[in-house]
Point group: C2
Chain length 216, copies 2
């Protein structure tokens, strides 16, 4: 029985692959782990059946027999641990790849989500227009540091890993802002991730959901 992964029934990003189920879909495509996707409406996210899977009412979740997990980082790690391809076998490289997973989610993503909150949740507030440049400077600081580290590397640390997978999806959340494009090596890095066959299959799968039931 393949594991069941939850995703939005109506993707608020109109099929651009920015929701967090994309991370799990991509990881599973990289390693050949089959999944079944269960679509969840916004109302059902807050209902007890989904809260039992994830107390915070978010997607994605992972249900595999008795085991229920949530948090895209945790699910990607779970998939990465049991197949070769997303974490190096050598202990030092493995620990460094895990460091990059946490760096993507706990250092690079938070200011990006702050900007998204400013636009989506505080877009109508009087302060948002004046405040956006402050947030964009906060993001640029992280992007500049990441760009300086990355230099001419293809991936963050040797071969492609779960750290790259999460970092690319985090940077993609800036699509349309022009911010990543200010750092040509980061833009190339994202494009390099998006060119992977596993990424393309995962992207097509989530896009097919949007095409079947376009967001209102």
């Amino acid at each position: 029985m393949p594991a069941t992964v939850t995703a939005f029934e109506k993707s608020p990003d109109r099929g651009r692959g920015l929701a967090r189920d994309m991370r799990v879909r991509w990881a599973c495509e990289e390693v050949g782990e089959p999944i079944e996707v269960q679509l969840v409406s916004f109302e059902a996210l807050k209902a007890p059946a989904h809260r039992a899977r994830n107390p915070f009412g978010q997607i994605p979740t992972w249900t595999e027999g008795e085991l229920v997990l949530f948090e895209s980082g945790s699910i990607v790690f779970h998939v990465a641990e049991r197949h070769p391809g997303l974490l190096p076998a050598e202990p030092g490289g493995r620990a460094r790849a895990i460091t990059w997973m946490f760096a993507a989610l706990n250092t690079v993503e938070p200011p990006i989500v702050e900007r998204q909150n400013a636009i989506l949740a505080e877009g109508h507030e009087s302060w948002t227009r004046e405040r956006l440049p402050v947030l964009e400077e906060r993001i640029r600081k992280r992007l500049a540091e990441l760009s300086a580290y990355l230099g001419e590397r293809d991936w963050l640390d040797g071969a492609f890993s779960a750290g790259d997978l999460l970092m690319v999806t985090v940077l993609r959340r800036l699509s349309g802002s022009g911010l990543v494009e200010e750092y040509p090596n980061l833009a190339a890095y994202v494009a390099h991730g998006e060119a992977r066959p596993a990424y393309r299959r995962a992207f097509a799968a989530q896009l097919a959901v949007f095409k079947a039931a376009p967001a209102g």
Copy 2:
């Protein structure tokens, strides 16, 4: 040779144990892993020697022979993987503890850091006073969800784990705000973590640094 962990030379929290080295100190105390702490000034954080350890110029880092790690979540995981006591041996329980590690850092901590940024980095901005209640509602949403899940449990999932260690340190970042106290079971959960002997030893060690060189 024990691993070297970096921490702030002058703790901006005046010894309240809110900096992220506390997470690593506590994890090491829980499992009996010895560490050497290297204090880093704010200027040195941005210098090449520290950037070589962490491209984002943050503490804590972990240096153990050739291996250099950063991100408190990653270091806590590295410590947890090689000693019993912070991750269950049973695979399902282990995966769920890892889910809680990511939930602490990627779902609960970001709105708390947003509030901290509002106070520390945007405290002088015209919008901050009006905006703080919006941020506090965003935090309350997560706290209410966590509180509803926790119920009368002692810890998030069975025995104390690295997930609890990170969650308690994340909730402690709200010290003084009164927000955690609105949810008595969360306040009791934090107190339960703070009462652990390993926590107390780690707290005393970071407080000793502050007492030796009080922040200006």
